[in-house]
Subunit: 595 residues, 2 copies
């Protein structure tokens, strides 16, 4: 079926349901970053596969709303006979609410599958529409599913217990802590829809989506009972055994029953507005719902000693793969004809060589020259660039390991860099180091620290328009809340948080620079007293920073000292695990800079 | 009357009105920082004169809620037979809402004068009380006024036009700009209660409160009309002339009529929730009220070229007074027996010597030794400390000048400082310089920059628990919104903003350090392009920073260069205006530090 055919079929159904418009957002019922194939309805309908893009279909027009990361890609893949591209954030582009208010008339009805409508968007949408006399309706089936004949089935991969040896805490202990939080929040029950929260809480890992070891499930935790709603075919005897005595297993399709039971008991139910869809709220109609961030999100963000140890071990393996990769790269680029996607395949393969590797943690970004300046670039085989012997190469890649998750960006020069390239790289590095080496009193938020990573660039008239860091899961999602280094992030940092630290700088069409380590927040033992705890950051990532791109004159003595110490640690941890040639390369790549 | 007698009389009236509790907050009807005498009801009732403190009187108990700045003072002045002290922010202290919910029973009524109830507090209070079945009531007269027999009259000082030569913009132009904002916000009218907004908008200055050149008034601005409600006896012919053709003058007592007329017209009225009392909202019952920050607040915060020039000129005068003060201090301390309040009187007198001075802009803070560590310390004659020949002296003072407002903190050493004193002072200074010299892209918020002033201290295990800077008015209030350097301040900085920059560090009982300049946000001409505007900060304050307290080894080359340049500017601007002895002192105080 072509896009116009699909839209024709969809409009027939809209007519049947009496809808003036139908919404097909990116979301799945768990409001996930990565979706199982069966829920990629927007992709199927439009051909657009970016991570963010919402579709509105009216009787006359259909539009896709996406942001600047995807303007290029959407422009190429959308069929102009079917879809109009709405560029979010560009002056003059209406929001979906404004568009609907303009196109629809009093009495019109807008349809959406309540499973894919987030609570937050639902609120905005309903208030905007009701002001214009337009109503939101929830047809009983997703209309796209009705016309998508060869829709893949729900993911059926079995999932496995995640051993306490790696998780560092039993399910029982996690549930006890969660129930204490529910007490504090005066809630009888907590409904969990976020797949990463479920995987963490029940110590399970699955294979239902790409890049994230999640299992599709809902969970309800009450004072006395914990229930995991998951397709029975996926439950292995090991999982059944691991959850015995602490959680009950029920079919995914019975989630509604479980939710409605809470309503019948008029329970006080805690619901996270960020990860809860409208359908859940409808099932909870008779319950007393309180909206608050799930306590699981904050609990999960504070890694225990075992998790931190696991993350360190994963980063040693990752460091070995990266050293082999960059060593090979230096040899291969002048000799072979390689594209960006060749390099992506190579780094993925080298990671796969390492014990416990479970594939990449996201689509590898390998951007040569101008492609490095496209912040969310992904090299697509056949459409990507050749990596030449002279230029700047940005690599942002990561791995999933049983013991942890990695995410690392390095920018290297191929051939001799220009003075300007060295200046920009060094100013990015100044920011990276200045934030890495800071100490701060407990109570400080990530939003307060971010400027420390920006000032080095600012002093040279340079800046970047993305955040400086996101939380990272422990063999979970590479992006997780609530902490981060970003002006909009109000979460207070705590020892055990693991965050990416990734300032960058981009010159359109020419090159992009970014230097990213994962760091763990640790107690500063030198400064901490009983009255005041102090914290600092420790790098987890073990990968040399390209010294050919450093202009030492731009670094302070303290910054050079940090860099030398970092490189000494990289060599100490990685060196002995490499074959002699790669080890010799690493020794050169981590040599001391004179002060 | 003693406090217990006053409370007895108040409770008689409460009984008459059927009230179980009566609230006497700090606020006046304009929610001002400084109150005219007639509205200092909380002070009259309790004897407590701090800037923050709210009273709750029930039939059995009366309590004063204040914060840590005033625990000491409140403990001393409150009559324990009458008032219980509730220490805000201390674990276990109930909020006023919690206290009332605990003490009162279903059906009870709490009284308050709606003129002194802010919209924000009103919302919190009503929702907390209604949850317990307690009602809020608004007796027609303020009950304290009924028993305060010798209450001073409303301030009657005449007020004056503030010439366009100093304001830099006509009232007409300001009103045109405001009306454009009202258009944008889809409002027909704007009610203004904030006295600084009124003084700025109508180019008038008065003498109704201490420290701030304000006139007590309300204003209503509609698309066609602007009305200033002010006591007729205060209106001089000059004011009448200056406002002719752009604003109408009506008696203060007719404000209610003006507000109710907006209700009759069902006007869409813009109201600032921060500065609007409950009484105003009651008068507007039939209007369509929208709550949003007053556009005047943001307009006023962007100083025009004349205002910035005026602020610079005021700071030259202020710098002369300060140089004379610190020069005299160095001579006098070893020779005379002086107290903190003697020094405060002296600096006030030296400022009064300067052309255009209109008194201090706030109560001078002169804190010797441990008193310097009390962040909002005010020396009270007879209760203050003697300034001895050895120790650290913190001075935080400011002046009102016709051309602008100043606010400056310097910390100096008397006698030879210890190594630790030098370290702390220098770390505070590092933060001061690092924020002062930063450049940043347009769009940056003050909250994002604050860490730059903190990191120097953090790296030594030191920190401070106050904000780093507040907006400052142009011959208006020394504290004004919306901009500032503080983690909680979301306002985006713009060229023309004037802000204090005042990191500090305090060791309880020993000493306090703070270095404060006012800075103006200016366009960075070197970096700005058409696509991206860049900003930087320029110091306005002209006063040497005590070099005896600087440990140069802790400063970077760039920081020393900033300091030398700053001191060169101070000498250049101030030197020639001083008598030879003071000039010689200033030359020494501003000498170059070797790198």
């Amino acid at each position: 079926m072509t896009s116009p055919e699909k839209l024709r079929a969809l409009r027939r159904l809209m007519r049947r349901e009496g809808l003036a418009a139908y919404l097909v957002p990116s979301n799945d019922p768990h409001l996930s970053e990565y979706l199982p194939e069966c829920w990629k309805r927007r992709h199927w309908l439009s051909g657009f596969s970016g991570s963010a893009g919402d579709i509105v279909v009216t009787m006359r027009e259909a539009g896709l709303w996406t942001d600047s990361r995807y303007f290029l890609e959407a422009g190429v893949v959308l069929d102009p006979r079917a879809f109009k591209l709405f560029k979010k954030g560009v002056t003059g582009t209406p929001t979906i609410e404004q568009y609907l208010a303009r196109k629809l008339r009093r009495g019109d009805v807008v349809g959406i599958d309540p499973h894919v409508l987030s609570r937050t968007w639902g609120e905005t949408l309903e208030s905007a529409l009701s002001a214009k006399g337009v109503r939101l309706a929830f047809p009983s089936r997703n209309l796209v599913d009705e016309i998508w004949k060869d829709r893949p089935p729900m993911p059926a991969a079995p999932f496995a217990p995640f051993p306490e040896r790696l998780a560092g805490e039993s399910v029982k202990s996690k549930l006890t802590r969660l129930r204490k939080e529910l007490d504090r929040l005066e809630a009888d029950a907590h409904v969990i829809a976020g797949l990463d929260a479920i995987a963490w809480l029940f110590n399970v890992r699955g294979a239902d989506v790409a890049f994230n070891p999640f299992v599709v499930a809902y969970a309800i935790v009450t004072r006395r009972r914990a229930t995991l709603f998951v397709a029975p075919g996926k439950v292995t005897p090991e999982v059944r055994r691991s959850l015995r005595g602490c959680a009950e297993l029920r079919p995914y399709t019975e989630t509604s029953k479980g939710l409605r039971a809470l309503g019948r008991e008029h329970a006080r139910v805690l619901v996270d507005p960020e990860t809860t869809n409208r359908w859940i709220l409808d099932q909870l109609k008779r319950a007393h719902v309180t909206f608050a961030p799930s306590p699981v999100v904050a609990m999960k963000a504070v890694k225990n000693a075992t998790e931190v140890r696991g993350m360190r071990a994963a980063h040693v393996r990752d460091g070995v793969a990266l050293a082999r990769f960059f060593h090979w790269l230096e040899w291969a680029i002048p000799r072979e004809r390689l594209t960006e996607s060749d390099l992506a395949a190579c780094v993925d393969a080298l990671r796969a060589d390492e014990t416990g590797n479970r594939g990449p943690s996201f689509d590898s970004i390998i951007g040569f020259g101008g492609n490095g300046a496209i912040i969310h670039y992904r090299p697509l085989p056949g459409k990507d660039a050749r990596v030449r012997a002279r230029g700047i190469l940005l690599t942002d890649t990561g791995g999933q390991y049983l013991e942890g998750t990695t995410d690392v960006t390095r920018t290297i020069t191929l051939g001799k860099p220009t003075r300007r390239e060295r200046e920009i790289f060094t100013r990015v590095l100044k920011g990276h180091i200045n934030l890495s080496r800071t100490r701060f009193p407990k109570g400080t938020k990530g939003s307060e620290l971010e400027a420390l990573a920006r000032q080095g660039l600012w002093m040279g008239g340079l800046h970047y328009s993305h955040g400086t860091g996101h939380g990272v899961g422990h063999y979970l999602a590479v992006h997780e809340g609530p902490v981060g280094f970003s002006a909009r992030n109000p979460a207070v940092l705590e020892a055990g948080n693991i965050i990416s630290l990734e300032p960058g700088c981009y010159v359109d069409g020419r090159y992009g620079f970014r230097t990213e380590n994962l760091v763990v927040v640790v107690r500063d033992t030198e400064f901490s007293t009983k009255a005041q705890e102090w914290l600092r950051l420790e790098p987890l990532t073990l990968c040399p920073i390209d010294q050919r791109l450093i202009e030492p004159k731009l670094l302070s003595r303290e910054e050079i000292a940090w860099l030398n110490e970092y490189h000494r640690d990289v060599y100490r941890e990685i060196g002995q695990r490499l074959a002699p040639e790669a080890r010799a390369w690493l020794r050169r790549a981590t040599r001391r800079i004179a002060q």
